[in-house]
């Protein structure tokens, strides 16, 4: 089977090039917006750009393969899916092995979220390339450019996801001690034994309260993985004074069991409340933490009605 015979035909070459270009650009743009989730090692960038290039090539050649017609060639898309799952495993493994040396842990939920995002982005890139090639084939250059732009915007909006600022209010809170217990407003965080540590925490610490706007948001920040992600983001952006031998300075988020508000405490390198609030608001809502019990409530109501 000569699936690649069409490469000699210039019109197909242009179609494929259009798709590959659009896909690769889209991958590069998507890489740029996840700086908060991922330190962005140069080699990581290269690996993801190359994989993005490959997946856009796969998406782009699907169009000539169908037109040829060489339908069996489309089965290589299945191979691509396998390949992308591998990317997810690769990301997960890398981040999990780095986790043991992180002072402030990302948490397994965050890692899983990042790994899944990396896999999904490749599908997006493939889709962008496919759509652009299709437009190039049937609509010409101008249609391809428009389709690529639309696909880029869609994937940017679609994949940037919700952030905590969309579902919760974040307000400054005060740190105090009730006996040995460190409090963020009325929320107990942890027991700090040494008076010197308490003085240091009161002097240098920062705290915010994250107030969920509705039941769905409350359920989301109830998730331990989500709270870990909050503490991690805050520590990445403001820095943390924690070290191996001073575990008291670990940033922590605990909830008020009655109201569902979450208090977050951190000992930042830069004591800047505005930055802290911005960091918390920009923390992504993790896929595994997102839940919508309010919507589920209407479903159970329907089910109950049906049963009675």
């Amino acid at each position: 089977m000569n699936a690649f015979g069409w490469t000699n035909q210039p019109e197909y070459l242009a179609v494929i090039l259009a798709g590959v270009l659009a896909g690769t650009i889209s991958r590069a743009l998507l890489l740029r917006i996840d700086y908060r989730q991922y330190p962005g090692y140069p080699h990581g960038y290269l690996a993801h750009l190359s994989l993005g290039f490959i997946s856009s090539a796969l998406g782009a050649v699907a169009v000539p393969a169908i037109l040829k017609p060489d339908y069996t060639a489309v089965t290589f898309l299945a191979l691509a899916a396998q390949q992308f799952r591998e990317i997810r495993n690769m990301e997960r493994r890398t981040l999990e092995s780095l986790e043991s040396t992180e002072l402030v842990k990302r948490g397994l939920d965050y890692i899983e979220g990042i790994a899944r995002t990396f896999e999904a982005r490749n599908y997006l890139v493939m889709g962008t390339a496919f759509a652009t090639s299709l437009a190039a084939q049937f609509g010409g250059f101008f249609a391809a450019v428009v389709t690529a732009l639309v696909a880029l915007i869609v994937s940017r909006v679609f994949m940037s996801g919700e952030v905590i600022g969309n579902i919760c209010d974040v307000v400054p809170a005060t740190l105090s001690f009730k006996g040995p217990i460190l409090m963020v407003d009325e929320i107990g965080i942890m027991n700090v034994g040494l008076a010197s540590m308490r003085a240091k925490i009161i002097k240098d610490g920062l705290a915010v309260k994250i107030i969920p706007r509705d039941g769905n948001a409350r359920a989301t920040i109830h998730d331990i993985g989500q709270r870990n992600a909050l503490a991690f983001t805050a520590a990445v952006i403001l820095g943390t004074k924690k070290d191996v031998d001073i575990p008291e300075f670990t940033p922590m988020a605990r909830k008020n069991p009655d109201t569902g508000d979450v208090g977050l405490y951190i000992l930042p390198v830069e004591k800047d409340m505005e930055q802290l609030i911005a960091a918390i608001k920009l923390t992504p809502v993790l896929e595994s933490a997102r839940s919508k019990p309010l919507t589920a409530g209407s479903v159970t109501k329907k089910a109950r009605k049906k049963a009675s």
Binding site: G179, P180, M190, V192, G193, L194, S196, I224, P247
Partner: protein, 63 residues
């Protein structure tokens, strides 16, 4: 993150009659000694000092 891996590494106290049991126990003569022993142990063991009632500190390694 996993609460099950927390463990008490040491107990420091000024009340000899209040404590006994499995973890190593350090007896301090007064409050000052209590604090200095706790600080030293926390640095040595990379652990957190928590205060219990009546002049007793415990050193806990959080997992």
């Amino acid at each position: 993150m996993n609460q099950n891996t927390d463990s008490i590494l040491a107990v420091v106290t000024v009340n000899k009659d209040k404590v006994s049991g499995g973890a190593p126990i350090f007896f301090a003569r007064n409050e000052d000694e209590l604090v200095s022993i706790s600080v030293n142990l926390s640095r040595i063991l990379d652990s957190t000092v928590h205060e219990l009632e009546g002049g007793t500190y415990i050193l806990v390694k959080h997992g």
